[in-house]
Symmetry: C2
Subunit: 161 residues, 2 copies
DNA sequence: GAAATCTTGACTAATTTAGTTGGGAAAGTA
DNA sequence: TACTTTCCCAACTAAATTAGTCAAGATTTC
């Protein structure tokens, strides 16, 4: 298990898809603009996400990407794992015969720890993330007696938070 | 929050210190040999660990490093944070005024997630890790009709494969 | 058939990780 | 004092990963 900006990009992009669910396929160009990620880099990431069936694609005009499953069925851990590929953190690849037994112990230990984080992340779905943020957005909008959702594109108010 | 092999090296080395606690200062050369990490790289890592007071050092012959606190007071999250330094994953550095609010939302979101993982790791102490492994070791040793605890200190020498 | 969009692969640049080198400085020991 | 062992530190190199670019093609819609 690795946790880097690469995984963050993937999760962010997936969340973008989730937010715009129901609007038909979303183009990578849109996501690139909204999330400030390079289009070509997104292409690489989505190539992997697609192979894991986390997204589905439609070509041609009006095409784009959609979530491969319901937002509540897609978990953060899956998304990160999809773009991270090699997770074998141990040098001995589970052979347990590195230079001495003690060393292997720490290998096992780390992979245990890794698994736990992975399990943890696999209990948070995209829907969970959306719900969490949605609540906060609504709360903030109400507090400021704000208008409709389009305000989101202008405001960045230093209202604390 | 980042989770890479660098952090793993740091945790592994700290665990090595914890295991040999009570034997006086442990030299980096010993750790390097036992854990298969380059000595100079360990020096870099320990420089940071020392600045965070996670370890204390003694120079000269018979010198080396010891844990800066009790094993049960040192948490994995601390160790990883110490060697990882920059954890500001957001491009806007909390300014909340990137290109639009939505983008900042995902930033916040990721940092929330990051915090949760960090919190999680900050609930696991070196002692916890030791206990966990100790249990397994004992179980395995008993199953194989093996010797006593001091075995741990010998196996690190050429005896084992 | 033209435009929009995904799909693929090869390439480059920047950053981070990992390791090296070489020189100290402090402390113990003879 | 001389010598050894160890930490300490800074610059350098090498390898890997991340991030991004470029160019060609495949599908679909219009």
């Amino acid at each position: 298990m690795k946790l880097t900006t690469k995984g963050r990009y993937a999760v962010t992009a997936m969340l973008d898809l989730a937010i715009h669910y129901g609007e038909g396929p979303i183009t990578l160009a849109d996501i690139a603009q909204r999330q400030g990620i390079s289009l070509s880099y997104l292409e690489q990431l989505f190539s992997r996400l697609r192979k894991q069936a986390l997204v589905s694609s439609v070509r041609g005009p009006g095409g784009g990407y959609s979530l491969g499953k319901e937002a509540r069925e897609i978990f953060i851990g899956e998304v990160i794992a999809a773009v991270d590929e090699n997770m074998d953190t141990t040098k001995c690849h589970g052979a347990h015969n590195c230079q001495n037994n003690e060393r292997c112990l720490t290998h096992d230990l780390w992979s245990d720890l890794s698994d736990q984080i992975y399990t943890y992340l696999n209990n948070i779905s995209l829907q969970d993330l959306m719900d969490r943020k949605a609540v906060r957005e609504v709360a903030e909008r109400q507090e400021h007696g704000e208008v409709d959702a389009s305000v989101l594109d202008q405001v960045s108010s230093p209202a604390g938070v």
